[in-house]
Symmetry: C3
Subunit: 203 residues, 3 copies
């Protein structure tokens, strides 16, 4: 039986893969290159987290992430032109992925007994590091370092997750509240164009 | 006693290191930088694979890869100008490396009990990820994402290796057939300029 | 009680973080991006080393590196303009970091029973890989591959550390002599503008 979380996981993976394939496409990558960039965007964060936590990355135990990225590639090849008109849908899907991945990263770290600062960093890595690897592959400065609130939403969600855990709430509640915080922060940040201050060049 | 596989391993490592040193040279890196890029090209794929498989990277147990890269650097410093006339030789050497490294990656994963999709990805990572790290270091878009059949040859070889393993062929035979597939695919792809389709920019 | 080594560690981490934040600032990163680049510069080398040695990265056990990077960010936000006049101070701080981190990397590898070539590479990775990650994040060719003696100072220090260990000197003495070699090599290299030869472009 497929659970609700698995559906969210699939939507999030699909949206992350699409974001990688789309940028690869803008740089005229071939199908293989686009697949690799899509895959790195979708599973790169979780893989880095699992290397740091010294556990086996999820995609090495379940091929669903590889299949989902393949479907994303086929989708872009067939319906790529529709993407322009589906901006809002994919923004919502991407935010779902960001929220879920963050919660998974925080939860996994807490379950392994790591302190809260590790859990929050792992949540942020799970949510945002895939996008950084994507941008390194397409040879651009990582977007999340310059524009909008993105990984900061992961940090906020991670803090709220940890706070809920600390006051003894059920882990199910912690996940819902933590994930919702990421989602709402991200939506509000884009809707009201909330940005962090930029450092003035000092060199 | 030196085995045939060790000779192939040395040739492949040398060719991969040369490819890194050569591109570093085109960007006016100093000797140290060229050595690091050559080393990353030669051992980067295997190191990433071993981190993911949670085993100790081969170069931490045997200094041959470091020595081989040092010889490649000396060779380029002394005879670098000859490289232009040795294009075909190095193309063959590089293809030998690609084939052997793929087979080693696939075999190691199967021996550790991983499923076939992990084995094929690990074979491709062993063969092709060093070149991606090289291109990140010299600040270029990874070549294998845009041009020619390269990592796809690893995927094909990995599939054939796994297929042979599945029908119960001796592991020695699997290695020969898998490696030959990589080699032949790569040679044919370059000879007949076979490319994957490119995604049209959609942004 | 705070030890002398902890003070050096703090100074080195602060200097490394500042170097990352400063370059991020030149590229107009926001506060979050600058923090991530500063953190990657400060802890990236040690983290890569610990992944390769298969031990838990230090920052996952002690939040001091995260705090130190946060202080560096606040410092740059408040007093960034002073950095231009503090060039020499930060050069000394950075060299302290390079020396200490190298010694820590070499010592950790020897303690884990690795051979000398692994220890020297781990020392160099601890000292210099953070700067490479920083330069990848800001999308520039890594500085240490092209300019001045930097990682080579780590290699020299590592060799001297290992030589001292080999002739049976106390590990305390090995650390002091190894670290001083890195420091002196780095200072002399910058003072007398000693560079490695550059490879002539051959393509």
């Amino acid at each position: 039986m497929i659970t609700f979380v698995q559906i969210l996981d699939f939507i999030g993976t699909f949206a992350f893969a699409i974001s990688g394939i789309r940028l690869a496409s803008a740089k005229h990558f071939d199908w293989f290159g686009a697949y690799v960039v899509g895959l790195a965007t979708a599973i790169g964060g979780g893989t880095l987290r699992d290397l740091l936590l010294n556990v086996t990355p999820a995609w090495m135990e379940n091929p669903i992430y590889l299949i989902c990225t393949a479907l994303a590639l086929v989708w872009v090849i067939l319906f790529g032109k529709l993407l322009i008109h589906m901006h809002n849908t994919f923004f919502i899907f991407d935010s779902i992925g960001l929220s879920l991945f963050t919660v998974v990263g925080v939860g996994k770290s807490i379950a392994l007994g790591y302190p809260f600062w590790v859990a929050i960093i792992m949540g942020s890595i799970t949510g945002a590091a895939g996008g950084v690897i994507r941008d390194v592959f397409i040879n651009e400065i990582p977007l999340i370092f310059r524009k909008e609130i993105y990984a900061v939403a992961c940090v906020i969600g991670g803090l709220i997750y940890f706070g809920c855990d600390l006051i003894g709430l059920d882990s199910y509640i912690c996940q819902i509240l933590g994930g919702s915080s990421v989602f709402i922060t991200r939506i509000l940040a884009v809707k009201y164009r909330i940005c962090l201050p930029t450092l003035k060049g000092i060199e």
